[in-house]
Symmetry: C2
Subunit: 188 residues, 2 copies
DNA sequence: AAATTAAAGCAGCGATCGATGCGATAATGG
DNA sequence: CCATTATCGCATCGATCGCTGCTTTAATTT
């Protein structure tokens, strides 16, 4: 089982010792992901970088994969601000723009790739929150009584190209380019 | 530097010793990728599975990342058959169908994820050949004097959703679904 | 404020990973 | 057919990874 995300109930307030260590370890992982190669991403190395003893990391997370999953969950579960301009087209453009900007951050990109590399379905956490955002935008438009493309099409037309470019090419998606994706999804 | 892909000039014919070892190691990697977790994918383990001594693997490939890149290159550089039915729509449907079928293979999927996990731009080899196929199909249609969507759009509309689903979700793209992507790309 | 409980530090242990020097073996060129 | 060269098998060596009792420190409870 993964780390108990709230470290028991003890010391879970921001600023507590456990929380401070957690933050330091997360930060260390993010740093190492962009610096060293993947081989060097090991528990002792992470612990040393975080100024924490390796034992602590082993006990709380157990493995690099679980630690990565935890980092990714924190990173991608930040209370995302869903744009709400009243216009579906404009909402989607801002959404695509923000997502592209996010995926252009080298730290984020490295994290996504590393998570994918751990194999399982862990990669889901990198996109689930974003997908929910997209669903929210579309469902809101539908609640206004307007026609919209199905969510699936929006995923294929927006989420997929953005993540595809970020992960598989060496030129991450520019925020400006991302906006053009919306034009292809929505009829003029 | 990475392994000298043609192992010198000695022994590079199919059936030679070097070629046999290379095949065995590649096979071992593919097997282990689907069985064990990523931590267990280490040179000694791979060598043991392949019935080869670890030294050989260290000398020829140097690291798991380079070995994975080599395996992926072989896997995705197989002489791919570009469909040529005379109809762009039908060509693209077959192309999408084949690609989806390919990405449904658990071995292939695991390999793609592992390659992405190695960080760099290695992930490119998983899609470059496929992208060239797609370009070929579209350029052939253009050579016939017909209008086509730009290659970029085709990538976003076909390649991206297929790879996105394969890598980030737990339900790989079905070949039948893949064909529907073409309908969204081409005007009816 | 003292007692209790939980988490982090610490030392040290097998296991094994990645690497190296040397001898054996198979594939080429004359 | 023999010599040369390159590649693989083998034994071995540090380095370090992942892990486990035990102690110490910090946080919660009464």
């Amino acid at each position: 089982m993964p780390a108990q995300s709230p470290p028991s109930r003890t010391d879970s307030r921001p600023g507590g010792r456990s929380a401070r260590i957690r933050a330091a370890v997360h930060q260390a992982v993010k740093e190492l992901l962009t610096e060293e190669d993947r081989e060097a991403l090991t528990i002792p190395v992470i612990a040393a970088r975080a100024g924490v003893h390796a034992t602590t990391v082993y006990r709380r997370w157990g493995s690099v994969a679980e630690l990565l999953a935890d980092v990714a969950t924190s990173r991608f579960s930040g209370d995302v601000v869903v744009p709400d301009t009243g216009s579906l087209r404009e909402d989607l453009k801002r959404y695509a723009y923000d997502l592209a900007k996010d995926l252009n951050d080298p730290d984020t990109l490295a994290l996504v790739r590393a998570i994918v590399g751990t194999g399982g379905e862990n990669a889901g956490v990198c996109r689930l929150e974003r997908q929910r955002q997209l669903e929210a935008i579309i469902e809101r438009e539908q609640a206004r009584g307007n026609e919209t493309p199905p969510v699936e099409r929006a995923i294929d037309a927006l989420l997929a190209p953005l993540y595809y470019r970020a992960v598989f090419t060496d030129q991450p998606p520019s925020p400006e380019w991302a906006r053009t994706l919306v034009s292809h999804l929505l009829p003029d």
